[in-house]
Chain length 742, copies 2
């Protein structure tokens, strides 16, 4: 009847990993009824560290390189992967994990801060591959399909989240550069055949320095652009003066975590312009101390600790003097006095702007009160969409979750498409001169006159992902019977290269009856919002950065959070990856579990991803039972939301485990109630009956354990037996589940 199939469930870190101990047994038990095997792959930070040193570990301690295996799998047409959020490790996190693993008896080396020997350099190289965002770029061999699942949308309509009222007289706005930024200098070319290019800097003395060599594919798009340091600093000064005059609070919104080369520099200029008096006065001293404004004003606080108390006091006094003539700044934490310029990673534009817009266009001042705000986003490319939404809210009031439509996204992401992959092609200019991109034969493809301090960057977009992205857009428009808009800005050189491809590749599809348009960003967001307030859906088909921004922006308006979005990566090779939990891996949740035996992680993302994964399995392998499992899982999720059985926040309420029990209860009930498959009905009817009858007992068993500390034997690599015991405390429930396939 059906080809045997399997679902790969990733084992990751922190809260999602803990939740997996409870949820996976349920999933395995239910999936077995449709002959679907559920296998795990360990891509946790600990697992990845150990895999990196497999050659040096004792035989009994060796682990497989599951990430590499998964990466291979993404190129198989039958890949079906549930991808939970994992740690993107910073150096401190990496060191902590190493220490924990060493304590557990794994013979791995320390992290070499300053590698000197070849051996140390080898170690450092291995650890470097584990650092940062090391998983997604390897696995994302497909473009992105993100949308609000029907059950989640229905829940938001019934139980709308709070939305701050917008005043028509609001002074809040987005402010961005009008010239001198990446947007206004962008050049873009498409390779007519494969070829090598050099990115070069030509000094005023004519000396050529090769910054980077790239091997480009046929049809690959390459962009070059730069941001003027002088114009950026002048812009910051203007925004500060303007806020001073109007009394509107000043805030800065960048994405230093993702644009990890360029945005810290931009952030650093904001710091040194805002605190100009201090940096002017102590310039030499700060240089000696190693103060780096790119790390925020906190860098000053850190570095001056080595100074005599009186000198520290003088500097702190001068910092405070700055506030007297600078406008009020938005606070990250007004209680602790943490400002917007404290550290670069505190305010992340794609999260901070929707939060501001949802909060009546206001942020918090140093007195803890919310105030109208100038949201400074120097780069104008995407900043304009926030101003458009702000104007829209001033005109039409706050969005209404009860009536608003949805803006799902089809995002270009595969093979590190576009801006997010250009860290190694971003350079801060050390002198005045010319940056140019040159073909092997010397042909100059593009060039910019730059000045010292300017930030120049290139970015690549391969042709195959674009073609796949167009296909995905058409597929989604067809499947959801929804208009799709390609957000391609007529004033962006890059987008105009893409538009040619989009127009070409659209011809490969049957577009009859579809509404597919190409629009500039402002027009596109405006149309989407006009439709949205009339309850209509519009698919946004965007590049990689807008994918990231919009899949926070719209969900936060529609659902109050982006964590409830379905995030599918239809792999270019034909398989599917289903990502869950945009909310990160939640370290605070682990702490709460260990201290109070209460896990508030919400596995909703996993429920939603699993349902699609099951449905896809059904479609691809002709496994009708799988389809029914998927459909009933969605029904169960809807009921769970409706009955408010998602985890709460505090001991004494329902937690992650209780929520899993209700999922199993509702899922089994839905399977028992359906009449499409008699076998499944017969198989699950007893379980549904049993769980219904034992609801009170199970809930009591689950509640009984709460409130006391527990030991799970580790943080980065907890003990499986201990953790499983903690996460499955209801023997009644465990027995019922065990009996299902017995």
């Amino acid at each position: 009847m059906s080809t045997p199939s399997k679902i790969i469930y990733t084992f990751t870190d922190e809260a999602p990993a803990l939740a997996t101990y409870s949820l996976l047994p349920i999933v395995e038990a239910f999936a077995a009824s449709a002959d679907i095997a559920v296998e795990t792959r360990d891509i946790s930070l600990a697992g990845r560290i150990l895999a990196s040193f497999a050659d040096q570990l004792d035989a009994d301690k060796k682990v497989d390189d599951d990430l590499a295996k998964l990466a291979e799998l993404t190129n198989q047409p039958d890949a079906n992967i549930i991808k939970l959020p994992n740690i993107s490790a910073s150096v401190p996190q990496l060191k902590a994990a190493i220490a924990e693993l060493q304590a557990l008896g794994y013979n791995i080396p320390n992290f070499p801060e300053d590698p000197q020997t070849d051996a140390e350099k080898d170690v450092r190289a291995r650890y470097s591959k584990v650092l940062g965002s090391a998983v997604n770029p390897v696995l994302r061999e497909g473009n992105s399909d993100r949308r609000a699942p029907a059950a989640v949308k229905a829940y938001a309509r019934k139980h709308p989240h709070s939305m701050g009222k917008w005043s028509k007289a609001s002074q809040s706005h987005a402010d961005y550069m009008r010239g001198g930024d990446f947007f206004s200098s962008e050049q873009s070319i498409t390779m007519d055949k494969a070829g090598d290019v050099r990115i070069e800097f030509v000094g005023k003395d004519g000396k050529v320095e090769v910054k980077k060599q790239l091997a480009l594919l046929e049809g690959e798009v390459l962009d070059g652009m730069f941001m003027s340091c002088n114009k950026l600093r002048a812009f910051f000064e203007e925004t500060l003066q303007d806020c001073k005059e109007t009394g509107v609070m000043w805030s800065l919104h960048v994405k230093a975590t993702m644009m990890k080369i360029s945005h810290p520099i931009v952030f650093g200029h904001a710091v040194s312009v805002y605190y100009k008096d201090v940096f002017d006065k102590y310039g030499e001293l700060f240089k000696e101390l190693g103060v780096n404004p790119n790390n925020g004003i906190s860098s000053v606080y850190d570095k001056i600790k080595s100074l005599p108390a009186s000198q520290q006091e003088e500097i702190l006094h001068d910092i405070h003097e700055v506030y007297a003539h600078r406008p009020e700044m938005a606070m990250v934490d007004s209680v602790k006095g943490i400002t917007n310029l404290h550290i670069p990673s505190d305010v992340i534009v794609d999260a901070s702007m929707p939060a501001m817009i949802r909060n009546s266009g206001q942020m918090w001042g140093k007195d803890g009160k919310q105030k109208d705000t100038k949201a400074v986003m120097p780069e104008s490319t995407y900043a304009r969409i926030y101003q458009e939404m702000i104007n829209f809210c001033k005109t039409n009031g706050a969005f209404d979750p009860v009536t608003m439509g949805s803006v799902p996204n089809v995002g270009l992401m595969a093979q590190k498409a576009e801006e997010y992959g250009s860290h190694d092609k971003t350079f801060e200019m050390q002198a005045d001169g010319t940056m140019r991109v040159v073909l092997a034969d010397g042909t100059v493809l593009m060039q910019h006159e730059v000045e010292k301090g300017d930030i120049w960057r290139a970015c690549q977009t391969k042709d195959a992902p674009i073609r796949d992205w167009v296909k995905l857009a058409v597929t989604r428009a067809r499947q959801s019977n929804t208009p799709a808009v390609f957000w391609l800005d007529p004033e962006r050189a890059h987008d105009m290269q893409l538009q040619k491809k989009v127009e070409t590749y659209l011809q490969e599809h049957d577009l009859s009856g579809l509404d597919i348009r190409i629009m500039g960003y402002n027009e596109a967001i405006r149309l989407s919002m006009e439709r949205m307030i009339r309850g209509k859906d519009t698919i946004s088909v965007t590049g990689n950065v807008l994918r990231d921004y919009l899949t926070d922006l719209f969900p936060i308006m529609e659902l109050g959070t982006s964590a409830k979005m379905l995030s599918i990566v239809p792999l270019m090779a034909g398989g599917g990856m289903y990502e869950t939990g945009a909310g990160g891996s939640a370290p605070k949740h682990v702490q709460q579990l260990v201290e109070e035996n209460y896990l508030r992680w919400d596995s909703l993302g996993e429920f939603l991803a699993l349902a699609v994964s099951l449905e896809e399995t059904g479609i691809k392998t002709g496994n009708t039972k799988a389809k029914i499992l998927g459909k009933t899982l969605d029904q169960a999720t809807g009921k769970l939301l409706d009955n408010n059985k998602s985890p709460a926040r505090k001991v004494g309420q329902i937690d992650n485990r209780g929520s899993h029990f209700y999922l199993a209860l509702y899922w089994s009930q839905a399977l028992a109630a359906q009449d499409d498959d008699a076998e499944l009905k017969a198989h699950f009817t007893p379980l549904a009956k049993q769980l219904s009858e034992q609801e009170a007992a199970i809930v009591a068993e689950l509640a009984a354990v709460q409130g006391k500390p527990v030991d799970i034997g580790g943080y980065y690599r907890s003990n499986p037996e201990l953790t499983s015991k903690v996460m499955r405390p209801s023997t009644t429930f465990n027995s019922a589940l065990a009996a299902l396939n017995a």
Copy 2:
């Protein structure tokens, strides 16, 4: 070589009529060189009065009914009419004109205030035809083509008018109803064949009252709509509360002069809501006194004058108490303490909103300072475009006259098309019930449930003007090689009827190479503005109200005034009418002439209209010389603007007559300089030489007369000999002109 042709130059009132005494001899002299006769038609108020009583006047006092003749002429394909602004007489103006004419020996009857006998009723009926806007509706047998002439646009770019800076933090905005207004209740039908309809009110008791009978043509569009009195009042209260909370100043923008039935009622509700406490307290007394809030709060001041001083004082005290808890209101004249609610005709939306937007989005408060303002425009149909422009200015800053493009207009106007012709079909409901439009056979075409106080209105649009309007849009798009956008809102029932016709009639034309689009109002204005700030032009193709609004809004941004626009009415029968002087007939200018012999009227509109009139004559009759006259007149106008030879404002500077001399000088120079026509060159070379040589003498003669009172023998019908003498004081110039065709 060419068919003989003539231009009809209208003789009107006040300043434009005075200027005609100086300009017309120049025009006649120049036009004669191309065999073009220039004839006048007297459509002055005095002329129209006399024509109405021609049957009762002595033979030597009889005058022709020139307006009736002109109206006939508009139906001739060779009509070529220069239409100067005339008086739209109020009753006081009419009475003054009657008295003056009687004193001049014209045996005309007095104006009967309260006609009783048949004879009196006949007199009153004759005078009624002279009252108000009695000329334009008779002559406008065509749609409207308004644009900034090239010379004027070039002048604005070289000498940009002041534009108030916009703050991104501005709190100013437009506010309008979200439901309950005409927009949200509009219904619209198109007659599939000619037929009579009744507009009826059906009371709660079932009694039917016929309010109006209409004979509709095949293809005619009829709309019905109403504004809810309760929702309007609730809306006003909300806007006042909102301003009180935000501290933004409150202002009301309606067009009570043009929407002369509905808008005074709307205005009256604003007055009685703002001053609610006073109207609540003195309701009965005000009714006895005949206070009508529709006439503004000034009506209270007027009517209470009959009361004892102490009672007056009490009421005035209570009025002042209102200001304590109501928000600050925008002032019409802060020095005199005239508020926005003083009288309904002081604030006219199509002039007041552009003025506010040009003025940084601010109006004046009672302290004479400019402040951010809530512009209240209850009816949302057109109010939205102002909010769109305000948002645009907040985002992009004030428009820049130096670089901005233009938005010319092609407006549906012929045969009283659309809303401006519905005064006789607008009703304030006297009771709850149903308003319906019924065919002769009883078929109900549309109906609305209404409540007492609601304002219901219908409006008609004939098919032939729509077809002509589409043709004019295509013609203008073709001639100016400019994209044209039909502003038709997908949410307006009326516009959707029009859109069907537009789509049909567009098929009658060759559209190859043209960019013609149909867009909702917000989209259309946004696109036009986005193009405008990039220096690009976009033709707005609109209905009658938007024609009126946009031909103030865009010109005031582009040129600082709408008076410099070229206003062409291509008549449906094939002729052309060229309107001049959107600034009215300027009574204060007459006073200045009589007191100081200085006329500051600017004949720019006449220059521009004449040039197009000459060009059209040339095209239609194959008269090459006429075309050259037109072209060189435009060059002369451009030079006149460049050399700053427009009339100034005060004695001692150049006035209207001096400006005319320079026009003649530059025009003759341009004709002498051209090489397209040797005859014209030869004909004008001596005049150009003579005027150049005698410039100083002529300017001295013109300046010499200034500063002393003069007698022109009348106001409404000045003495032609006396006036001509005053307006042509330079014998040197007069002789040179006389010699031209001698």
